[in-house]
């Protein structure tokens, strides 16, 4: 990636966000864009873990839920400042990821998948059962909106600006991270743990760092979600949502920052476009997971690009090089 192209992408992103904010005036689209933004935050974080570091989490909705509920409980029940609650959410999720990560990341493959899944289900059950604290299955309402210097983010358009500016910063941070020394170490870890270790990478610390990092993204998304809806209920943070997040990563492309935006965008818009989608939701998500992983394991966009690339090289009679 050459620097000028790199800069242009970000410029394009900023201009697109600005143009939409200037010319669009339908709240419905802003609401949709807000969910795309929140989902993208989650998916970028999960992609760092799953796509780049090659470590699976089948319980990522738990960190999303921890962020959302910490924000919700602290602001609605205790009257804490929303920004402070957001930071508290980050602390809670980060700590939970750290504590669960230490034993869990020693496990590999299926065992790690199962441990994160178990953790996700336990958090989901606690959100449902601890009704004195969380409001139980019927949820927690009365969560105030975020505000900055007297300006409350209480309309879809204002929220849109807030969420997408934060998303832009997070995307830039993530792109920077994966292109840094740490990013190269993460990819080495993905390709071979023993090889990475022989090159002096402390793989366990690195895995833990990425795990906590991706939990922090999820927590941030959760807090924004709570302050966007002004309401949270456990059903948003169940096993199926964790699977949806994995689907978004897989569809957008493993190890692709911009693919995360595509995956989250597609799977957020699709249910809105197709009213029949609701009944077929599970069938479609399941089919996407299977078909993409079987035939295009590097994700939709990368998979198609790879196919075109190898065709072109074959036509030119050359060998495929990377």
């Amino acid at each position: 990636m050459t620097p000028p192209r790199f800069l242009n992408r970000w410029l394009l992103f900023a201009v697109a966000v600005g143009v939409i904010a200037a010319f669009m005036d339908q709240d419905y689209y802003y609401t949709l864009l807000n969910f795309i933004g929140i989902h993208t935050l989650l998916v970028v974080g999960l992609n760092l873990l799953l796509g780049y570091a090659g470590q699976i989490s089948l319980g990522h909705a738990a960190f999303f839920g921890l962020g959302a509920y910490t924000s919700g409980i602290l602001t609605a029940t205790c009257g804490v400042d929303p920004w402070l609650a957001l930071v508290a959410g980050l602390a809670v999720s980060g700590l939970a990821a750290f504590l669960i990560g230490i034993p869990a990341l020693k496990l590999r493959g299926y065992y790690l998948g199962m441990a994160t899944l178990g953790f996700g289900i336990i958090i989901y059950i606690i959100l449902n059962e601890a009704d004195g604290l969380t409001g139980g299955p019927s949820g927690l309402s009365g969560i105030p909106s975020l505000s900055l210097a007297g300006l409350a983010f209480n309309t879809p358009r204002r929220l849109y600006l807030l969420i997408w500016i934060i998303l832009g910063i997070i995307l830039a941070m993530s792109a920077n991270l994966v292109n840094s020394r740490t990013g190269r170490a993460i990819r080495a870890l993905h390709d071979g743990e023993a090889a990475a270790e022989s090159l002096g990478v402390d793989t366990f610390r690195l895995k833990l760092k990425i795990f906590v990092w991706s939990a922090l993204y999820a927590s941030l998304a959760g807090s924004l979600y709570a302050h966007t809806l002004n309401f949270v209920a456990p059903s948003s943070f169940g096993f199926m949502f964790s699977i949806k997040l994995v689907t978004m990563v897989v569809l957008g492309g493993m190890a692709s920052i911009w693919g995360s935006l595509l995956g989250a965008g597609t799977l957020t818009v699709l249910p809105e476009l197709l009213t029949v989608f609701h009944d077929f939701e599970m069938v479609i998500f399941g089919a996407i997971l299977m078909v993409v992983m079987i035939f295009l394991p590097r994700g939709l966009v990368r998979g198609i690009l790879d196919l075109c690339e190898s065709r072109r090289y074959k036509r030119q009679g050359g060998r495929i090089s990377f």
Binding site: Y111, G118, D279, M282, L289, M290
Partner: protein
């Protein structure tokens, strides 16, 4: 003695659920031994078993027919699943296989929801529902059916793996696939067979539990996860481990339901799973490395 009466009752319901978990755990173990794959869609076979049996029973009210028909149908689903979803995978890394089988599970569940809707269906117990009094506790005939059929299934499997040529070939593949191929065992066939047997075991578990819990499209996920927990708690790939893990899990859950709160029942199962994973990932019986 006051604590003893409910204790026995919890033990009975715990062992019944535990037997179901054990059947599912064995299914996980058989596929794992043949392929080192964890088939996250195993729980959906349980659900399909229950719902197919219920549908067949509605067409022709005969329980043996419903049982046999459902097992055959679900075995076919298991075989087709292996052909369509797992054999075409070019790069079978654990992550890819987790995602594919989880996708398969969600797909099967979605199709079941379209076919059967969201209602829960009832299957009559195999031999009436007059409770049998056992000291201070009562036991339903269906509990005995569950325990009895599970015991028979485990014994039959053990005999199959120890005594028949095909069973021995499957064990050889589990031990060393390449060496098994060298002595002329068709390893691919053994993989298919393992998916068939696992699906049949799952279906059996679903049919057995349907009269106790009703059959509904989303029953499979939790049962599958608990079956997998049981397999890991006991030691993945070990037959005795799967049975032990299932029973331990079932009893622990029943005790937690009785003495703590029914809401946290599922949390106990997964807490136990995390403890075993973190402290003794090879499982209670040791299992394979």
């Amino acid at each position: 003695m006051e604590i003893f009466a409910p204790l026995l009752q919890y033990l009975i319901s715990g062992l019944t659920n535990g037997a179901i978990y054990a059947l599912i755990a064995l299914g996980f173990g058989i596929i794992y031994n043949a392929t080192t794959i964890i088939n996250f869609a195993q729980g959906e076979m349980v659900m399909l078993g229950a719902l197919c049996a219920i549908s067949i029973y509605h067409l022709a009210p005969s329980l043996p027919l419903a049982f046999a028909g459902a097992v055959v149908l679900v075995t076919c689903v298991g075989l087709i699943f292996e052909r369509l979803a797992l054999s075409p995978v070019k790069d079978p890394t654990p992550i890819a296989l987790i995602i594919i089988t989880v996708g398969g599970a969600v797909l099967i569940k979605g199709v079941a929801m379209l076919l059967w809707g969201k209602e829960a269906y009832n299957l009559p117990p195999f031999s009436g529902d007059a409770p049998i009094h056992l000291g201070p506790a009562t036991i339903l005939p269906q509990n005995l059916w569950v325990l009895g059929i599970t015991a028979i299934a485990v014994a039959a499997l053990e005999a199959f793996f120890r005594l028949t040529l095909v069973g021995k070939a499957m064990r050889a593949c589990a031990y060393n696939t390449r060496a098994a191929r060298l002595v002329g065992i068709a390893a691919g066939r053994m993989v298919q067979l393992s998916f068939g047997i696992s699906a049949a075991l799952g279906a059996g578990a679903g049919i057995l539990i349907a009269p106790l819990t009703l059959g509904v499209y989303d029953m499979g996920t939790m049962l599958g996860l608990k079956g997998f927990s049981a397999a890991i708690i006991g030691g993945l790939g070990s037959m005795a481990g799967g049975v032990l893990g299932g029973l331990v899990l079932g009893v622990a859950e029943a005790l937690a339901t009785g003495f703590i709160s029914s809401g946290y029942r599922d949390a106990v199962a997964f807490l136990l799973l995390l403890l075993v994973l973190f402290l003794r990932p090879q499982g209670l019986t040791g299992g394979r490395k």
